[in-house]
């Protein structure tokens, strides 16, 4: 048995992260809170429940956004436990068809959303673009590369269209996830990269934590993994940006991307960049920083698309309720999902795209 599964024996007795549990908030249903999911999983193991459409609906309702663990005093790895139980369900041939289909697509193409194009260049610095960044949100990728160019860095784009292993792991397919993780590492090694900037927090979380903890795969020690937001925030003094003119104060809110709660260092860095991009400190959402909620961009878009859509809509509603006219975010994965579901007048801005417009000419 995967040792993470032991977490359900704690979480089933606990309600202490309910206040930050995003799926509980949008469904108002006890069963799909950390406690409820753990209880259902534990009762299935004890024989008081079987896997059927209703119980599987609960098992697949967890978004793997990390909120529960980020607020857990005893650091219970509940998302990993749920992924491990999903793996058992998949091994037993009980995974829902849409989950199987999403997995098969990744196993075949290395990508859930399009195609994977391995890098051909070599260099010391790399940018891991990822699956969504390459296949669905190229403008963010291009803006990020241009900003890095302005920092006078020669950067190799890697992982173009490549799933980092996050989605298959979360879906309950650890062997496919391991294969994806190895592909990521192989590509970085092949291109000679020693400093790997990562565009999306989803991939960053996979590299910094998930690969080791859930897949037992270690990154080479000589590769330094860096959050792009952190790096760019440190470069602000060198970039000599021109402050924007004529933007209404406080009209734009910053959306902490999915997985931000797992990477608390980025809270301040992202806001530093927002201030540069907007000319003022961004409006703060209610669900921000250490209580930031995910959008439906994780594996939930395949496991429970109904919940995924609601998660994204809830982020948009949060911004509207705060009086925002536009929102800004750095993560291509979160941005893509927000744009896909936005039916309001909210303007959705990429943080890197906005920053780009403030670079001095000829930089």
């Amino acid at each position: 048995m995967n040792t993470a599964i032991g977490a359900i024996e704690n979480c089933r007795f606990c309600l202490m992260c309910r206040h930050v549990a995003p799926v509980g908030h949008i469904t108002h249903n006890e069963s799909v809170t950390p406690h409820g999911i753990a209880l259902v999983a534990a009762m299935q193991r004890q024989g008081q429940l079987t896997w059927n459409p209703s119980t599987l609906d609960v098992l697949y309702a967890e978004p793997d956004g990390g909120n529960c663990r980020a607020h857990c005093v005893t650091d219970q790895p509940l998302p990993a436990a749920i992924a491990a139980i999903r793996a058992e369900v998949a091994d037993d041939g009980l995974a829902p068809p849409e989950v199987v289909r999403a997995h098969d697509r990744i196993a075949e193409n290395h990508s859930a959303f399009g195609s994977y194009e391995p890098a051909t260049k070599q260099g010391e610095w790399g940018l891991f673009v990822g699956d969504v960044g390459f296949n669905l949100a190229q403008e963010t990728m291009r803006a990020a590369l241009k900003l890095l160019e302005a920092c006078e860095l020669d950067v190799v784009s890697v992982g173009c269209g490549l799933d980092s292993g996050f989605i298959p792991c979360s879906l309950g397919y650890p062997r496919t996830a391991q294969a994806q993780a190895r592909l990521c590492i192989e590509e970085v090694q092949r291109t000679g990269i020693k400093k790997l900037l990562v565009l999306s927090p989803q991939d960053l979380f996979a590299f910094l934590q998930m690969h080791q903890e859930r897949l037992d795969i270690a990154w080479p020690e000589d590769v330094v993994i860096i959050d792009l937001v952190d790096f760019l925030a440190s470069q602000v003094p060198n970039l000599k940006m021109i402050p924007p003119a004529g933007t209404a104060e406080n009209a734009t809110a910053y959306v902490d991307p999915t997985h931000a709660v797992r990477l608390p260092r980025r809270f301040d860095a992202a806001r530093t960049l927002c201030e540069v991009a907007l000319g003022y400190a961004p409006l703060e959402l209610f669900w921000r920083e250490d209580r930031a909620h995910p959008v439906g961009s994780t594996a939930i878009q395949f496991t429970r698309p109904d919940i995924g859509v609601r998660l994204t809509e809830a982020r948009l509603e949060d911004a509207i309720n705060r009086g925002a006219q536009s929102i800004v975010c750095d993560d291509p994965v979160t941005l893509y999902e927000l744009r896909l579901r936005n039916e309001s007048n909210l303007h959705i801005q990429g943080l890197y795209e906005t920053l780009l417009t403030q670079l001095p000419p000829h930089s």
């Binding site: 007795f13 992260c17 024989g47 429940l49 005093v73 005893t74």
Partner: protein, 479 residues
């Protein structure tokens, strides 16, 4: 016992008409999850492979009007309705012991108004406690009800069992903070209590709903008193050699109205076990955390005066750090695996009485429990944490680390320990509970608790709820 056939289908279709299909559930998983709250017994029952009584329906209404319509359906079919907030109650108050409709209030989570002049917030009853606190914090305010369950409990769940929070010693219990409520009566009638609680326009009938734990109706909205977030919180810890001295020091601080926001006094057994386990301090004696808040000058002076009293008992001043560590980690006690959890058997037999009786009561209960269950190697620990001008609450707990494996035997032992503890409490002038409520757990002690006054409460219940649909089996009604 499953309820099948035409009738449940009729009920389901009527409930669906009221709240919409998405908000009525009869799913396996939901019914099992809503079959247990934080009461040890149903959790143990499940843990030992048994299935507690499940609700027939879980319904999530969005408004008082929807609740009113649901209660009318329940009256027509004579089926129980059990209000459910966060399910964090430890007394079995939200258990569907006769099946029926679990009415989850969490969709009713709007903040209706924050009045920054009168310092009040009006919110729907299903709002999560922590989310409500965050919202008022953004205005520099706080709802000074800080229970350890704020992360999971709801506003309605604060009020229905008359909860108490960590800073109640200065700010009062949840019931002291409520100005006004909207309630749906068992027959579906929706009422609002008067705008303020302190007046002379007739009897204080709104208090009937506080502590009724869903047996007199459903609280759907409440206006609560807020306070400014304090400018400072001064915390420190002191160590007494003797529990008697520590209780007396606490009494003197309270009766001289020095206004601590917290006095948390651990008995020697708790000091040696819980304080050591969670805070890492190895100490012998009675550990007391003392806190003063608000204006810095006033708080400093209050603390000085309190320390004069404490020094008079020769207690050791441990300084600020252990007091602050306790404040910062005060909820860590509730996260498993460091919380109490199965397969252990445990129960919180907290009680309250006046200063003249409290010590005798505490030692009588301790003796009765420790001597009565020696063969089970029972542990009895306690802390005194909610202090009043006239007395104090003691949060006593028993723990049996090797309880019977057999579920039925475990139920019998658990109930026997409770009988012993509550008999000691009642014989020594205590209340069967100070803040967790009565629920199912203490129902059988209510007649003894109230004596001659009980028939009045029973009559009120029968008048308000002639069909007995509201949360049957709880708060002593029907016992």
């Amino acid at each position: 016992m499953e309820w099948t056939g035409l009738q449940p289908e009729m009920v389901r279709s009527e409930l669906t008409e009221i709240v919409g299909d998405a908000h009525v559930s009869t799913d396996d998983a939901d019914r099992l999850v809503y079959a247990t709250d934080w009461f040890w017994l149903p959790q143990m029952w499940l843990d030992r492979g048994e299935i507690p009584r499940k609700p027939d329906f879980i319904v999530r209404p969005k408004s008082a009007e929807e609740i009113s319509a649901i209660l009318q359906v329940a009256n027509a079919y004579r089926i129980p309705v059990i209000p459910w907030g966060g399910g964090s109650g430890s007394q079995g108050g939200a258990l569907p012991v006769f099946g029926g409709i679990v009415l989850d209030t969490k969709r009713m989570n709007r903040i209706i108004e924050i009045d920054e002049k009168s310092l009040t917030v009006t919110a729907e009853a299903g709002i999560n406690g922590k989310q409500l606190e965050w919202a008022v914090n953004e205005k520099g305010l706080m709802l000074p009800h800080y229970p350890a369950s704020a992360n999971c409990a709801t506003l309605g769940g604060y009020l229905a069992p008359r909860g108490t929070g960590t800073i109640s010693t200065k700010y009062g219990k949840a019931e002291d903070l409520v100005l006004r409520m909207q309630v749906v009566l068992p027959d579906g009638h929706i009422l609002r209590t008067p705008i303020v609680p302190q007046h002379a326009a007739g009897p204080d009938f709104y208090r009937l709903f506080l502590g009724s734990e869903g047996t007199f109706g459903v609280i759907t909205e409440a206006t609560m008193q807020l306070d400014y977030l304090p400018e400072c919180r001064l915390l420190r810890a002191v160590l007494f050699e003797d529990l008697t001295d520590a209780i007396e020091a606490g009494r003197q601080i309270m009766t001289r109205r020095l206004e601590p926001f917290v006095i948390r006094l651990y008995d020697p057994r708790s000091t040696a076990s819980r304080v050591k386990k969670i805070l890492g301090y190895e100490l012998e004696g009675a550990y007391m955390v003392l806190g003063f808040d608000g204006d810095k000058d006033i708080a400093t002076l209050q603390e000085e005066k309190a320390m004069d009293i404490i020094n008079g008992f020769g207690a050791r001043d441990l300084g600020r750090e252990p007091g602050e560590a306790w404040w910062n980690h005060r909820y860590d006690f509730y996260y498993p695996p460091q919380s109490l959890k199965l397969p252990w058997m445990y129960g919180t037999t907290e009680t309250v009485t006046t200063y003249d009786k409290i010590e005798k009561l505490y030692f009588a209960e301790k003796k009765a429990v420790e001597e009565g269950y020696k063969e089970w190697d029972i542990d009895f620990i306690g802390h005194f944490s909610h202090w009043f001008h006239w007395g104090v609450m003691v949060y006593t707990r028993f723990i049996i680390r090797n309880p019977p494996d057999d579920a039925k035997e475990a139920v019998r032992l658990h109930n026997r320990v409770w009988n012993t503890a509550m008999t000691a409490v009642l014989e020594n002038g205590g209340m069967v509970n100070e803040h967790h409520g009565v629920g199912l757990k203490l129902s059988r002690f209510m007649r003894r608790q109230y004596g001659d006054a009980w028939p009045l409460l029973d009559r009120i219940k029968k008048t308000l709820d002639p069909n007995g649909i509201m949360n049957p089996g709880k708060v002593g009604f029907g016992h």
